[in-house]
């Protein structure tokens, strides 16, 4: 068992043990007619704070604060555990009060977005590796514009060299759409092969009107298009891996806000 598996195994064991302890405690406290919500609530509160601190940890990279990898492991396992702890604490799946429903809804959304995000982060890197290309997300616009410039230069050269505008026309009519910006984003995001198919279709469509001389240019264009197809996959997959946090993080912030309010209200009214 490697270090990562060991780490996760230990954390899962710890989390399950913690949950079992809290679950049993809740059960026993109920039997003793005591309020278990206090302990489970503050446990959940502490857990949520710990989960939120992962973000703070990222901003404090200059200080030696336990490796981020451990934090992530805690975040992942703790996040999953928090859902169970949430059920233990509330004793139900859906509360009946207005703001509690809002809190529960946001909590579930954060949890679901977290799970989806985690799954994405496990799947997408491998898909990116399989493109056999590596590119920094921020450099994609520059890279695309470079490819576009090259493609247009090829078209220009083709027209000048062969005196035929067939390829140029096809580029203007159809291919320029493709080179303009990332395409097939959703298809790429979910692992489709629409871009590949589209490129093959375009190649065949125009190929029949070209002579051998022109076809060389077309092949060149096709190489660039295939390069861009890979970049498009990176754009979609890396974009997904960045985009899910646009949901997860604001929701988490909202959950924190409501959670603090919940703690205050409960202390004022019930304890």
């Amino acid at each position: 068992m490697n270090a990562i598996a060991t780490r996760y195994t230990l954390l899962w064991v710890g989390a399950v043990a913690g949950l079992v302890i809290l679950g049993v405690y809740t059960h026993l406290a109920n039997l003793q007619l005591e309020r278990s919500e206090f302990i489970t609530g503050y446990s959940l509160f502490a857990l949520m704070i710990a989960l939120a601190l992962f973000n703070a940890r990222k901003k404090l990279a200059m200080v030696p604060l336990i490796r981020s990898a451990y934090w992530l492991a805690i975040h992942v396992v703790g996040g999953a555990a928090s859902v169970v702890l949430f059920f233990i604490h509330t004793g139900s799946i859906w509360p009946s009060g207005g703001y509690e429903q809002a809190l529960a809804l946001l909590f579930y959304l954060v949890s679901v977005s977290g799970i989806i995000g985690y799954a994405m982060q496990r799947i997408n890197p491998r898909r990116l590796v399989q493109t056999d290309l590596e590119i920094i997300y921020e450099r994609i616009p520059a890279e695309l514009s470079e490819i576009r410039e090259k493609a247009e230069a090829v078209i220009l050269a083709c027209t000048q060299e062969t005196g035929s505008d067939t390829l140029a026309r096809h580029y203007m009519e159809t291919l320029s759409w493709y080179f303009r910006r990332p395409r097939f984003i959703y298809n790429n995001a979910f692992g489709g092969k629409a871009a590949e198919h589209w490129l093959r279709l375009q190649y065949r469509t125009v190929s029949r009107y070209l002579n051998d001389n022109e076809r060389e240019y077309l092949d060149h264009i096709n190489d660039l298009a295939e390069m861009k197809a890979k970049i498009d996959i990176h754009y979609a997959c890396q974009g997904m891996m960045k985009g899910w946090l646009l949901v997860h993080l604001p929701l988490a912030a909202a959950v924190l806000g409501l959670m603090f309010w919940h703690v205050i209200v409960v202390n004022v009214y019930a304890l």
């Binding site: 039997l31 520059a142 912030a253």
Partner: protein, 654 residues
């Protein structure tokens, strides 16, 4: 694999993911400029370089990464020749994310703050505090006042409101505003047990805000066991056996011997037609819970026992034999007029005188000849009137005078003197009822007859019962079952006690014996209705069905069991089924003996005690539910404070 040229140190800059802005041209998929936006978010790519003045000349300073110095070089004024229109830099995803997160937090805080500025009691304001709707009942009565009904901190100003977070609040105080219990609400079972239990709070078991239809009352068996030292796993396993006589803890209030009725009377050919078909003919269990009151007398016993009731008359006053006649007949005559005999005697005398005058005889000195006194009654006085008059019934000497005086008063005043005596001896509650329906004229006529030393002759037969005179007696015949006059007299008798040093114990006892005599007279009521002594020795007749007051924490629903056992379809005599399933008649029991003494708790039931195993036939593991709350209730005598009812009234008026 990327183009390796891109890795070269002189062909790419450090990527700076901490930047908040990115090139607007790049964002629109154009060629991003080399420098990117400035840190403030302004476009930094309007010129490709910042030319430098070396000596008198301006030199291009475009960086090697951007392609090195340009061909044309700077303009004459020293500005870059490659000018671009400024772009609108965009925020990076990371920056947007940060803004969104801060906004989300701010929105939550803002919405809460906004709600808090609303008036207290506003539904929107409450909605950010209330964790769930109340159950229907609580929701109704708190609707007027709102949260403050239970949460004292609710209407405090912000500071105190927040400080309330650090003080503990016991909701019980507010609960008992409306809820009442048979004991301390903070004691387990609201009872004073010998061992000191924990202090309880309502919210330990009843938590609100779980929805309109939430069950806030149910408890698990294990929760019961939290306090009970003898923890009970389940009814069928280790619940203790029921006590002897279960479920009875006292004799019945009406002495009805099931054994004799079922085995003797109901099978007797003479009564067979009148006999009930089955148990439910008398015990209407359909809707009954724990206690099953028998049906009314009229519906049950009356069939056989009603006719006898009229005959059970109460003798209140009797004309006894007197030693001497002390009655002033003139006064009687004045008050009553002459009696028929007297009138006839006078007529006779007048005829004699008239005849003598006609015959010229000498009219003798006319005087009514006093006959030798010979009392019409040879009886003793009755114990009731003797007691009322303070005399001894079998002592002629003691009653001759007061009785004759009393009769004289009756002659003159009707029933009033009797009432006076009753008022004097009995307490007010019963005294009015004791002589209820007694016609003053009747008394007068009876008294007149007696004063004339005659038997009273009633003008008509007494058919309807009630007060009537009969020869030497003034009697009361019950008008039927549940006769108030008789009940009053019984209460009177039971309440009367010998005055301590009056030495009239015998008189009192004689009176009581005659009123409460089971065999004769009105006292026969107590043949069925038990006379019970309470803790201080006060005796009462149990006119009404008395539900058991033992086991206040146990409940049972006869109604729920009835459909299952179908007693109506079962012959009364069938020993195996129906009510017999649980209630088995114990023919050996000395049922009646219990009624010969006053303590209702010294008894032997007509039925065998119900065994736990009987219940456990169905209520056991895997069969019918058997949790504690099925048979046991927690609270002692739960109820509501009247104020709550008043509130509701007030509301309904609104």
């Amino acid at each position: 694999m990327m183009d390796p040229e891109k890795f070269k140190h002189d062909s790419s800059r450090y990527e700076r993911p901490t930047n908040r802005f990115r090139c607007g041209r790049g964002a629109e998929w154009g060629k991003p400029c080399e420098f990117g936006p400035e840190t403030t978010g302004r476009c930094g790519g309007m010129n490709e370089c910042r030319p430098a003045k070396v000596g008198d000349r301006w030199e291009c300073r475009r960086s090697a990464i951007a392609g090195g110095p340009c061909e044309n070089g700077p303009d004459a004024d020293g500005s870059c020749c490659n000018k671009h229109p400024p772009c609108q830099p965009r925020r990076t995803i990371r920056s947007i994310r940060g803004l969104l997160a801060i906004s989300a937090f701010a929105i939550v805080v803002g919405v809460i703050a906004l709600m808090l500025t609303l008036d207290s009691g506003d539904a929107a304001r409450d909605s950010i505090i209330q964790p769930g709707s109340l159950t229907g009942g609580h929701d109704n009565f708190t609707s007027a006042e709102g949260c403050i009904s239970c949460h004292s901190a609710h209407n405090e100003d912000a500071g105190d409101w927040f400080l309330a977070a650090f003080t503990e609040e016991d909701m019980t105080d507010q609960c008992v505003d409306c809820h009442t219990f048979g004991g301390d609400p903070r004691h387990a079972h609201n009872a004073n047990f010998a061992s000191e239990g924990p202090t309880t709070q309502c919210v330990m078991c009843h938590t609100e805000h779980k929805g309109e239809d939430a069950d806030i009352k149910s408890m698990s068996d294990a929760q019961c066991n939290a306090c009970h030292e003898n923890s009970i796993d389940s009814f069928s396993s280790n619940h203790p056996a029921f006590g002897a006589n279960f479920p009875h803890d006292r004799r019945t209030s009406v002495q009805f011997n099931h054994t004799s009725h079922l085995s003797k009377y109901f099978v007797d050919k003479r009564y067979q037609e009148k006999a009930p078909e089955n148990c439910t003919s008398c015990h209407s269990v359909d809707t009954a819970a724990k206690a099953v009151a028998p049906a009314s007398f009229e519906e049950t016993c009356a069939t056989c026992h009603n006719p006898a009731i009229r005959e059970r008359e109460l003798l209140v006053l009797r004309l006894p034999e007197f030693e001497e006649d002390l009655i002033d007949r003139e006064a009687v005559s004045e008050a009553c007029g002459p009696t028929m005999e007297r009138w006839e005697l006078l007529q006779e005398q007048i005829t004699e005188i008239t005849d003598a005058i006609e015959a010229g005889d000498e009219v003798e000195n006319f005087e009514v000849e006093e006959e030798e006194y010979e009392a019409v009654s040879l009886e003793e006085a009755d114990p009731i009137s003797a007691y009322l008059l303070g005399a001894v019934a079998d002592d002629m000497e003691s009653y001759t005078e007061p009785m004759q005086e009393f009769i004289m008063r009756l002659v003159e005043e009707g029933s009033a003197p009797l009432a006076e005596l009753v008022d004097e001896k009995a307490n007010q509650e019963v005294s009015a009822a004791m002589l209820s329906g007694l016609n003053s004229e009747l008394v007068k006529r009876v008294a007149c007859a007696w004063a004339a030393n005659l038997e009273y002759e009633a003008p008509t037969e007494n058919e309807l019962g009630g007060w009537h005179g009969e020869a030497l007696e003034l009697r009361y015949a019950p008008t039927g079952h549940d006769d108030n006059v008789v009940k009053a007299w019984m209460a009177f008798a039971l309440a009367s006690a010998a005055e301590e040093d009056a030495g009239d114990a015998d008189v009192v006892e004689a009176m009581q014996n005659v009123i409460l005599d089971r065999r004769e007279g009105a006292g026969a009521c107590t043949k069925c209705h038990a006379i019970s002594e309470d803790e201080v020795g006060a005796r009462t007749v149990e006119w009404r069905y008395q539900p058991s007051d033992a086991r206040p924490f146990t409940t049972y629903s006869h109604g729920a069991h009835i459909t299952l056992l179908n007693p109506e379809g079962v012959n009364l005599m069938d020993p195996e089924d129906g009510c017999n399933t649980c209630h088995k008649i114990n023919e050996e029991a000395a049922y009646q003996e219990a009624f010969d003494q006053g303590d209702p708790h010294t008894f032997e039931s007509n039925f065998y005690a119900i065994q736990k195993k009987t219940c456990a036939q169905c209520h056991s593991e895997g069969q019918v539910q058997q949790d504690c709350q099925l048979c046991h209730v927690y609270h002692a005598d739960p109820g509501f404070d009247l104020r709550m009812v008043e509130n509701e009234d007030a509301e309904s008026v609104d």
